[in-house]
C-alpha cells in the first residue's frame, strides 16, 4: 500500500517562488522571522484568504451577533496524514466544525495551530493547507488566525494540527448529553465505521485493498436543516468519533442517566466496512466516524428528522436504530440478529485486531 494513499500528486505542485528555496521545513519556519512570514504570505494567506486573516494582527478581530457563543478545540495527530477519503487537514477543519454544530451552534471562525517536524516536506504541507481551505469553504467557516512552530527532527510525526472554533449558539436550541429522555428515538445520519476502517486499510502491518473511504465531512448544514425543522424536539446530538457509536451512546446513557437500546439489524454499515471488520476481528460499533451524527429526538419528531436527514447528501443512509428506556440505566444494550440481548460496554483503550 503506498505510504500516502489518497494523497494528492506532490510531484506536480507548483511552488510559490520564495518557498522554493526551502523544499522542507527548517527550524527557522517556526521562528517568527523572515522564513515564518514567507510561509504565511505565500502558503497560508493565499489558501485561507479572508479579511480577518489578512490583517495579520496578533489576534483576529470579528463581530458576532448578540447571544451565546460556543467554542471548541481539538488537536489532530492522525497517521498517515493522507488516507482514502481525507487528510489531516480535512479532519482538522471538519472535526471542530462538527463539535460546534452538534452543540447547536453555527460554526463561524477557526484558528489553526501547526506543529511541524523539521524536514517535513513543504509540498505535503501545501496539500494539507489546501485541504483545510477546501473544507472551510464547504463548511462556510473562516480560518482567521493561526500559528506555526517547528520541532526538531524526530520529535514530531511530520505534522500536528490544533484547531479551535467559535460558533454562534442558536436561540431556543438547548442540546446536550444530559438531555436524553425516556422514549426518545435514536437516529444515526448514516453508515458506521467508514473512517476508522479507511485508516486501518492504510495502517502499516494491517493494510488491505478496499473501496472504503473516510466519511470525513462538515455536518453543520445538515444539522441546520434538522434544527430548522424539529427545533427543541432534538434533545441530544453527538458525532461518534473516537470509540465509535458504542462509546458515544454509553456517554449519553451515563450523562442522562437513562438506558439506551439499539437494534443491531437496523444499524447501517457498509458491506465492505463489515467485511474489513470481519477480517480483523473488529466490531463496527467501536470504529470511529468523522462525518456522522447521532440524534436523540422526541418520538413525535423522529420521522420528520429522518426525512430531513435523508434529503441531505450526507444523510442518505440515515436510520432509526433505537430508543431510550428507563430500564438498565446507564447501560447500552443491543438486540442481536439472534433475538438475544447483549450489553455493549464503552471501549477501553484502542480496539485491537485479533486472531482468536
Amino acid at each position: 500500500m503506498p505510504e500516502n494513499a489518497g494523497a494528492p500528486d506532490f510531484a506536480n505542485w507548483a511552488c510559490p517562488l520564495p518557498l522554493k528555496d526551502y523544499p522542507a521545513i527548517v527550524m527557522g519556519h517556526g521562528g517568527g522571522g523572515k522564513l515564518g512570514n514567507e510561509l504565511v504570505e505565500h502558503l497560508f494567506l493565499p489558501a485561507f484568504r479572508n479579511p480577518e486573516l489578512e490583517n495579520l494582527g496578533d489576534a483576529a478581530v470579528f463581530e458576532v451577533a448578540s447571544g451565546k457563543l460556543a467554542m471548541s478545540t481539538d488537536s489532530f495527530v492522525v497517521q498517515p496524514l493522507f488516507f482514502p477519503g481525507g487528510s489531516i487537514g480535512a479532519l482538522a477543519v471538519n472535526g471542530t466544525v462538527n463539535d460546534l454544530a452538534v452543540s447547536g451552534a453555527e460554526p463561524k471562525f477557526l484558528s489553526a495551530g501547526f506543529i511541524l517536524e523539521e524536514g517535513f516536506a513543504l509540498n505535503q504541507l501545501a496539500a494539507i493547507v489546501e485541504a483545510m481551505a477546501e473544507a472551510a469553504r464547504i463548511a462556510g467557516v473562516r480560518i482567521v488566525t493561526g500559528d506555526t512552530k517547528v520541532v526538531e527532527r524526530g520529535h514530531g510525526d511530520g505534522c500536528y494540527i490544533n484547531t479551535t472554533g467559535v460558533g454562534q449558539l442558536r436561540a431556543g436550541i438547548l442540546v446536550g448529553p444530559t438531555r436524553a429522555q425516556h422514549g426518545d428515538a435514536i437516529l444515526v445520519s448514516g453508515t458506521m465505521g467508514d473512517h476508522g476502517m479507511a485508516i486501518m486499510s492504510v495502517r502499516e502491518g494491517l493494510e488491505f485493498e478496499s473501496p472504503i473511504r473516510s466519511d470525513c465531512a462538515a455536518l453543520n448544514h445538515m444539522i441546520a436543516d434538522v434544527l430548522a425543522a424539529a427545533g427543541d424536539a432534538v434533545h441530544v446530538m453527538r458525532d461518534p468519533t473516537r470509540g465509535g457509536l458504542a462509546s458515544t451512546l454509553n456517554e449519553i446513557a451515563i450523562s442522562s442517566n437513562v438506558g439506551v437500546e439499539i437494534d443491531e439489524m437496523k444499524l447501517p454499515v457498509r458491506f465492505e466496512v463489515q467485511s474489513a471488520c470481519e477480517l480483523l476481528g473488529l466490531d463496527p460499533v467501536y470504529v470511529a466516524n468523522e462525518g456522522k451524527a447521532v440524534f436523540f429526538v422526541a418520538p413525535s419528531a423522529a420521522d420528520r428528522v429522518l426525512e430531513i436527514l435523508r434529503a441531505h447528501p450526507l444523510g442518505r443512509e440515515a436510520a432509526r436504530i433505537g430508543h431510550v428506556t428507563e430500564q438498565h440505566k446507564r447501560l447500552l444494550v443491543a438486540r442481536t440478529a439472534m433475538g438475544s440481548n447483549r450489553v455493549i460496554p464503552t471501549q477501553i483503550g484502542e480496539q485491537l485486531p485479533r486472531i482468536c
Partner: protein, 380 residues
C-alpha cells in the same frame, strides 16, 4: 459475505434451538474448547437460546489466556531491548505480565508493532537488517502453519535477524487433561473447527473411545454452533460417543497435508505450561533442532524473570470450567477489563472478559427485560 452471512440467519438459528429443545430430555454439560467459539456464543447469546438444561462450559481455548506468565515476562523483556522490533498479533498487547504489558513497553519506547500475519514480520526483518525482528508466535494448531512458514522462509532467505518467540499449545492433550481431572463434569466437547481444518480430526476417535464422550467438530457462526450443540445432544441422548463432523464444508478427516508436513519439519512436541492450569505433558510445540537457531528464547537468553500471579486471580478455575467468571470474588470488582488481574479478563475470548463485556453481570431477569419493550417503543 458469502459462506459467512448465510450462517447467521436468526430465523434458522431459532429453528435449530427449537430442535435441541425437542430432543433434550435431561440436562447436559458441553464444553467448547476454542476461544473464538466462546466469543461467538456469548456475543450472539447462543447460550440464551438453549433449553435450560443444556449448559455450555467455556474451556481453555484462548491461547492468549493460557500463554504462561513467564513467557509474557520474557516477551516484555525482549521488546524493551534497544534494536529490537517486536511484532505481535493484536490480542497479546494487553495481556498482563508480572509488571505491565506490551502496550506499556511501547509507551516506554519499545518498538512494538501489531501485524496481521507473521509474514509481515519476515518482511520487516528483510527491510530492517540492522534490527532484530522478533515475532510472538502464540496460538493453537490453527496458527502454527503460519508461524512455521515464517521461520521456514527466514531460513530459506538466510535472514539472521528474525526469530520466533514460541508458545504453541495443542488441543487434544488439553481435552484429555480436562477429562482426566477429578471432578470433571464435561460430558461432550465441541471441537475447534479451524484447528481441525489444519489437523483433521483423526486424533480424536481414541479420545472419544477412552473417555466414552461424544466429540463434534464445530464451526464459529451461530448456525454452526447450534448445529454442533444439537449433534452433541443427539449423541448424549443416544449414549453414543463418536467423533462427528458438523463443519464439513471446511474440515475433513485427514486435515491439511502440506501444512502438517511443514509443521513436522519445523516443530517438535514438548511439555507446556498452561497459565492457570499448570503443565500438561506433550501439549505444546517448540522449534526443533533444525530451526532452533530461530528461537527467540535461545537468542535473547533472558534471565532473572520473577513471575508473580495476582493471588486474587482464579482464571485457572475458570479455564478448567470449575467456576463461572461470576463465581470469582474479584470479578467485576478488583478485576475488570480496565484493570485485569489475569489473562481471562484481558483477551476478549477470555471467558471473564466475554462475560463482563456482554453484560453477564446482569441477572437473567435484567438482561431479558432489557429487550422487553422493543416493539412498542421502537415504533412509537
Amino acid at each position: 459475505m458469502k459462506y459467512l452471512t448465510e450462517f447467521r440467519n436468526g430465523e434458522i438459528a431459532q429453528r435449530i434451538a427449537h430442535e435441541i429443545a425437542q430432543i433434550a430430555t435431561r440436562p447436559w454439560k458441553i464444553m467448547e474448547v476454542c476461544g473464538g467459539q466462546t466469543h461467538s456464543i456469548i456475543k450472539n447469546g447462543i447460550d440464551q437460546m438453549l433449553p435450560p438444561g443444556i449448559e455450555m462450559i467455556h474451556g481453555p481455548g484462548c491461547p492468549v489466556c493460557v500463554t504462561p506468565l513467564e513467557l509474557i515476562d520474557k516477551a516484555l523483556a525482549i521488546a524493551a531491548q534497544p534494536g529490537v522490533i517486536f511484532c505481535s498479533f493484536g490480542d497479546m498487547l494487553r495481556v498482563p505480565g508480572t509488571q505491565g504489558d506490551l502496550f506499556q513497553v511501547k509507551g516506554r519506547g519499545g518498538d512494538v508493532r501489531i501485524v496481521y500475519s507473521p509474514l509481515d514480520a519476515v518482511e520487516l526483518a528483510q527491510k530492517n537488517p540492522d534490527h532484530q525482528v522478533v515475532f510472538f508466535g502464540v496460538g493453537f494448531e490453527t496458527t502454527a502453519p503460519a508461524n512455521a512458514m515464517s521461520v521456514h522462509l527466514a531460513k530459506r532467505r538466510g535472514l539472521k535477524n528474525f526469530s520466533l518467540l514460541v508458545s504453541h499449545v495443542l488441543v487434544p492433550p488439553a481435552i484429555e487433561a480436562i477429562l482426566s481431572s477429578p471432578g470433571n463434569q464435561v460430558q461432550a466437547f465441541l471441537l475447534a473447527g479451524h484447528v481441525c481444518s489444519v489437523m483433521g480430526f483423526w486424533e480424536y476417535p481414541p479420545i472419544a473411545e477412552k473417555f466414552r464422550i461424544p466429540l463434534v467438530v464445530t464451526g464459529f457462526e451461530p448456525l454452526d454452533l447450534l448445529e454442533g450443540i444439537r449433534r452433541a445432544v443427539v449423541q448424549l441422548e443416544a449414549g453414543t460417543y463418536a467423533v462427528d463432523n458438523a463443519y464439513a464444508r471446511v474440515v475433513n478427516f485427514e486435515g491439511n497435508h502440506p501444512a502438517q508436513k511443514l509443521l513436522g519439519e519445523v516443530f517438535e512436541v514438548t511439555d507446556r505450561a498452561w497459565r492457570g492450569i499448570g503443565v500438561i505433558p506433550k501439549s505444546g510445540w517448540r522449534l526443533n533442532d533444525s530451526y532452533r537457531a530461530f528461537d527467540a528464547e535461545d537468542r535473547f537468553q533472558i534471565t532473572g524473570i520473577h513471575t508473580e500471579e495476582s493471588p486474587l486471580c482464579r482464571s485457572g478455575d475458570v479455564l478448567r470450567g470449575a467456576i463461572k467468571p461470576a463465581g470469582c470474588p474479584a470479578f467485576g470488582k478488583e478485576c475488570t477489563p480496565r484493570h485485569p488481574l489475569g489473562a481471562t479478563m484481558v483477551s476478549s475470548e477470555g471467558a471473564c472478559a466475554a462475560y463482563f463485556n456482554y453484560g453477564r453481570f446482569l441477572s437473567a431477569n435484567e438482561l431479558a427485560e432489557a429487550g422487553s419493550a422493543w416493539t412498542e417503543a421502537a415504533h412509537a
